[in-house]
Symmetry: C2
Subunit: 345 residues, 2 copies
C-alpha cells in the first residue's frame, strides 16, 4: 500500500485495504476487507469516511460482491451481486457518492456475459473511479488554489483531505495545490465534534505534509473571524443538491458566520457529489449514536438518562456559498453577495 | 452543606466548601479550602467556576487571607491580607466578579481597627455577597421568565446555572423561574468544548430538577436554529463592558447565528458582572492550556506537536443582544433589531 493512499485495492489477495481512521492519530493501522459485510462495518464505524473515499469504497463493495457470491448460474449470480452491492449503497444515507459509485459499477456490469467477465469489469470500473477521484482532486486543487490569497489563513472543518479521498483531498487538496504553487497558507482546523476528524485527521495529514496547522474548538471559529484572523473558509461536501450543500455538522454555522463577516466561504467537491435529482428537503440527515457525544473512550461526559441530538450533517443553502470548486471549474452561487467585503460586527 | 449550594462557608471549621465541578457528572465531591493557595488552585483548575460563584469565591478568598495571615502587628497584618487577597483577584483575568468581590470586601475592611474585627467584617461582607447573589439570581429569574414563551425550547451554552452561582443560577435561573411559573420549557444544552460544562454541569443540574434537557455538540446549534427548533437563546456573562458581553467561547457564534435567524438572544447577569470602566478592546481574553483541547482524560485527540488555540471566552457586541436581564430589570441594547422577526435562511 502506498502510504498516501487512504483506500487501495490489493489484487493479489482480492481485498480492499483501508487506513483505519478511528485510530488516528494514536496509531496507524491498515484494515483488510475481504467481504461486503466487513466493508459495511468499516463504513458504519467510520473506519473509512469522507464522501469521495466512500465512493471508492462503494465501487470496491461491488467488486467484493462479485468475488464473494458463490452462485454458479449467471442470472442468479448477477441478481445476488446486485442485491449484495445495494446493501453497501445503503450503509450510510447522506453522502451521495456511495450510491453513485455502486450504481455506476453495477451499470457497467450489464455489458458482461459471464461471471469471470463480471468480476473483471467490476475491478476495472472501480479502479477507474479511484483513478478519476485522484485526478478530480488534483484538478479541484488547481482551480481552488487560484482563489486562495498568496499569504493567508484558511479555516476548514472536519476532514476533506487525502484521508477522505484516494489522495490529495478536496478542501485540503486546494490548500496542498496552493502550497505547491508557493503560497504561504496556514490552516485553522476545527476539531469537529463529536468524532474529532479535524483534530485527529486533518491535523495528522497536514502535519505529515509540513503545512502549518492549528487546531481550535469548533466554537472558536467565529471568534477568530471577528478578530480578522481568517481569510477564507474551505470545506468539502457529502452531497450537493440543487439548493444546498450537505456536509459535516457545523458547516452551516461556519457559513452563517463567514457570511456575517464578509469572509469567502468555499466548498470543494467533485461532480460525483452533486445530486441533481433532489432538493434539500428530500435528503435524510443521518442521526448517529448518543454515545459518540456522551463518551470519550471510557469517560462519560453527559449524565446518564440525558438525551442527545447527534445529527451527522447539516445543510448550507447555496446562497451562503461564495464558490463551489469542482474538477471542471468554479461555480459561484452567491457571486457578489458574500466574498471580499470584509464586515466588522 | 445544603446540597444546592455550589459554594458555602463553614464557620465552625473556618473553611470554604465547594462542589468539585471537574468531577461532575461522574462523581459528586466537596472540596474544603482552608488556605488562599488551595482556593486559587480550585479557581484555576475550574473546580469552582462561573462568574457569580467566582465573586463569592473571591470574597471568601479575602476571608481566608484574614484567617491565615499570622502577623500580629495590625498595619503589617492588614497589608499582608491585602497582598494575599489580591492574588485571588488575579487568579483568572476575564471574569470581573472575582476582582469586584475582592475589592468590595477589602474596602469594607478599612473600617475595622483590630485583627479580630477585620476577620469578623470579612466574614460578614462575604456572607452578604453570597446572600445578595442568591437574591439577584431569583430577581433575574423573575424578570427573565417573563421573556420566555409559555411553551418553547431555549438554547443555552456552558453553565450559567446553580453551579455557577450560590444557587438558582442566572441563565438557568430564568429557566427555573419560568418552569416554576408553569411554563413548558425544554432546554438544549450545548456541550461547550473544550471542558464540556454544558454536557457535564448544565445537564446534571437540570436533570436533578426534572427540567427536560437535551445535549448537542456546539456546532449543531445553528442547524437546530435553521430547523426552527429554537425559540430563544439565553446565556450568562463573565464581564459586560460598555460595548460587549464576555462569556464562554462559542457565545459569539450563537449570537451571530441567532441574529441571522431572527431568534432572540438574551444575556442574564447580575450588576456585579458589569464593568463600566472598560471597553472590549481593553479586556484580556484568557488563553488556557493546549491539553484541555488536545486530551480527554488519557486520550490524545490531536497529533503531537500540532499547536492549539484555546481562548476561554469571546466578546459579543451588544448590538447582537436582544436583552440583558439583570436583578433590577431588563436592558434592551438591540431592541427592534434582533428579536421576534424569525428569518429563514
Amino acid at each position: 500500500m502506498r502510504p498516501a493512499d487512504t483506500i487501495h485495492w490489493d489484487d493479489t489477495t482480492g481485498s480492499l485495504l483501508l487506513i483505519d481512521q478511528t485510530r488516528l492519530p494514536l496509531s496507524y493501522r491498515v484494515i483488510r476487507c475481504k467481504s461486503v459485510e466487513r466493508l459495511i462495518t468499516a463504513i458504519q464505524r467510520l473506519e473509512i469516511r469522507g464522501a469521495p473515499a466512500l465512493g471508492i469504497a462503494g465501487a470496491y463493495g461491488v467488486v467484493l460482491a462479485t468475488m464473494t457470491v458463490k452462485e454458479k448460474e449467471f442470472h442468479r449470480y448477477f441478481r445476488q451481486v446486485e442485491a449484495l452491492a445495494r446493501t453497501v449503497a445503503d450503509a450510510r444515507p447522506t453522502a451521495v457518492n456511495l450510491s453513485w459509485a455502486v450504481t455506476r459499477v453495477l451499470t457497467e456490469l450489464r455489458s458482461a456475459d459471464s461471471i469471470k467477465e463480471v468480476r473483471r469489469v467490476a475491478v476495472r470500473e472501480a479502479g477507474k473511479i479511484a483513478d478519476e477521484d485522484a485526478e478530480a482532486c488534483h484538478a479541484i486543487g488547481d482551480y481552488g488554489a487560484a482563489l486562495l490569497p498568496d499569504t493567508g489563513t484558511v479555516l476548514t472543518h472536519c476532514n476533506a483531505g487525502a484521508l477522505a479521498c484516494r489522495e490529495w483531498g478536496t478542501a485540503l487538496g486546494v490548500i496542498r495545490s496552493a502550497v505547491r504553487d508557493g503560497k504561504q497558507i496556514s490552516v485553522i482546523a476545527c476539531e469537529t465534534r463529536p468524532l474529532l476528524q479535524g483534530a485527529r485527521l486533518t491535523a495528522w495529514e497536514l502535519r505529515r505534509d509540513d503545512i502549518p496547522v492549528t487546531v481550535i474548538p469548533d466554537s472558536a471559529a467565529a471568534f477568530l473571524m471577528r478578530q480578522g484572523e481568517i481569510d477564507c473558509v474551505i470545506v468539502g461536501a457529502d452531497r450537493i443538491t440543487a439548493d444546498a450543500v450537505f456536509n459535516k455538522i457545523g458547516t452551516y454555522m461556519h457559513a452563517v458566520c463567514a457570511n456575517a463577516h464578509g469572509i469567502p466561504f468555499y466548498v470543494a467537491a467533485p461532480h460525483s457529489t452533486f445530486d441533481h435529482e433532489h432538493t434539500q428537503d428530500q435528503i435524510t440527515i443521518e442521526e448517529r449514536d448518543r454515545d459518540e457525544v456522551a463518551y470519550y473512550g471510557r469517560y462519560a461526559t453527559i449524565p446518564e438518562g440525558v438525551p442527545v441530538r447527534n445529527p451527522a450533517f447539516d445543510a448550507t443553502p447555496l446562497s451562503l456559498v461564495s464558490a463551489l470548486i469542482t474538477e471542471t471549474g468554479v461555480i459561484r452561487p452567491a457571486a457578489g453577495t458574500v466574498a471580499g467585503k470584509r464586515r466588522v460586527i
